[in-house]
Amino acid sequence: MSTVTWITARGLFGRRRFLLLLPLPALLLVLAVTSRSLGVDPSQWGPPVLVGLGLAVVLPVVALIVGTGVLGAEIDDGTVVHILTKPLPRWQIVLPKLAVAAGVTAATVAVPLYVAGVLAHSVRLGLALAAASALGALAYSALFLALSLVTRRPVLLGLVYVLIWEGLLGRFVDGTKVLSIQQWVIALADRMAPTDLLSTTVSVPVAAVLTALVSVGFTVLAVDRLRSFSVAGETS
């Protein structure tokens, strides 16, 4: 494990903010288990729990908390200077942080989604949801990590993207779905395990290409912004 990964993980799990990650996945699990044990038809509870809660809320919110935390928290408290005063190419700082963010998000979200998918339909759907949400975790993490370097309010901007763009506009304006990570995850999961529970207008090739583009593009942006990272003076 690289030193940057180690410090990032220690910083992430050492802060209370980490506890915020737990309630949402737990809620997803509780709802899925309750619906299944009460004998509710999966076509009734599947879409709202898997998509409405799991992919539209739990995945982006967890990714937002973690993605803006791995570097944003260090920028906020100034400790980032310790890592930056080292002769490391900046990609060697961004990539480990991205790996921690995507890994922690994927682990936190994929497990409850897998269980919910199994309960709603099949092991195949569970695995598809877990795999697609892991890819989504990577894209979201790259986006939120880059946001923490281009703005001082990454959480606010990230929320605007998740709630307004994906949540509100995605529901009423079909065209915005093409630029929605949430819709890409749905398209990819549905391709891996076709069911009636998941549906989107975005095609699989578009989803795959855009997921890759966003992941790579925002990572490159983050590396470039970190190279020009400025520390403002106290009096400025």
Binding site: I7, T79, H82, L84, P87
Partner: protein, 319 residues
């Protein structure tokens, strides 16, 4: 009780000394000019960067350390720009003013992480050496969150020294240190400077600079106001005219008596008392009570009017 503080031992560097060059460096934020056309060259030894708060010291240090792009001019370390060039950190260490440390790590873990990030061949030995240099061995296994401000500062210095940099920049390093820690830090900087390292530290306290460094760069309002040997600058400061406000039971009689006093260069009689200009601070303050006593005048108030650091610095700008 006398405490004798031994200077920390540092090895003589085997690599050639480094030079930090600033050529016509300016930095502005919108309409505000924080640093204005500063040119200086820093070589081996300890240099103090002195100036009142808000003079642009931190902005200048950040540009030297590659954390801020100059709006105009160039900052180079041995000919290489420091901005957007992480390679310079092999030779450069920075201790910033902001008290930013990973509080969840112990000092040893923190310094060891620095050593590993520098890819040092023996990070454990380097971390132990750096911690010993700042005398933090006893507390090195406690979490940094439990430390006093001075201990955190020393931990940060250890992390910045772990790769034995040729150039060390420190922003207000004595803040929050008790007198003993201060003396130890001063001895450490001295020994590093004597060993051929280029050390620059900023301070707004003249006495700190005086005790540590032979050369001083004085910044006032973003400009380099004075540069050179501290003794010369100190002399300029002590020889400058001092202004006092004096109130007494008989201002007019006191004014007449004071103007005959050699240390007094001018007296002004106003509604609220006297404004006295004195060339020699000590001679005037010793003479005043005697003169007043001899004339049977009671001095009600004696206030030095220009003792603020800003006035001292602005005097220097004019000198």
């Amino acid at each position: 009780m006398t405490t004798i503080i031994a200077g920390p031992q540092t090895a003589v560097p085997t690599t050639p000394a480094s030079t930090l060059d600033l050529a016509g460096v300016s930095r502005w934020y919108g309409n505000v000019v924080a640093v204005n056309d500063v040119t200086m060259r820093l070589g081996p030894g300890v240099t103090g960067l002195l100036g009142p708060n808000g003079a642009g010291k931190t902005t200048l240090l950040h540009m030297m350390a590659g954390f801020l792009a100059p709006s105009r001019g160039a900052v180079t370390l041995d000919g290489e720009p420091t901005w957007r060039n992480p390679g310079v950190y092999r030779r450069l260490g920075l201790v910033s003013e902001r008290e930013a440390v990973h509080t969840f790590l112990t000092a040893y873990e923190f310094v060891l992480a620095s050593a590993k990030l520098h890819r040092l061949p023996d990070p454990e030995a380097a971390a132990r050496r750096a911690i010993a240099l700042v005398e933090m061995e006893d507390a090195q296994d406690r979490r940094i969150g439990t430390y006093s401000k001075g201990m955190r500062q020393r931990t940060r210095v250890a992390a910045a020294l772990v790769h034995d940099p040729q150039v060390l920049l420190l922003d207000e390093p004595f803040n929050g240190m008790d007198p003993r820690q201060r003396l130890h830090m001063m001895a450490l900087l001295h020994s590093l400077g004597d060993a051929g390292r280029t050390i620059l530290f900023s301070s707004h306290i003249l006495e700190e600079v005086e005790q540590v460094s032979g050369t001083v760069q004085v910044m006032v309002a973003g400009r380099l106001a004075a540069s050179g040997d501290y003794r010369t600058i100190r002399r300029l400061m002590t020889n400058r005219p001092h202004v006092f406000a004096v109130r007494s039971t008989d201002d007019r009689a006191l004014a007449v008596a004071l103007i005959a006093e050699e240390s007094v260069t001018g007296v002004e009689l106003g509604r609220d008392g006297l404004t006295v200009r004195a060339g020699d601070y000590g001679a005037f303050t010793r003479a005043l009570p005697k003169i007043a006593l001899a004339r049977g005048i009671r001095v009600r108030a004696l206030t030095p009017e220009d003792e603020s650091l800003e006035s001292v610095f602005s005097y220097l700008v004019g000198a």
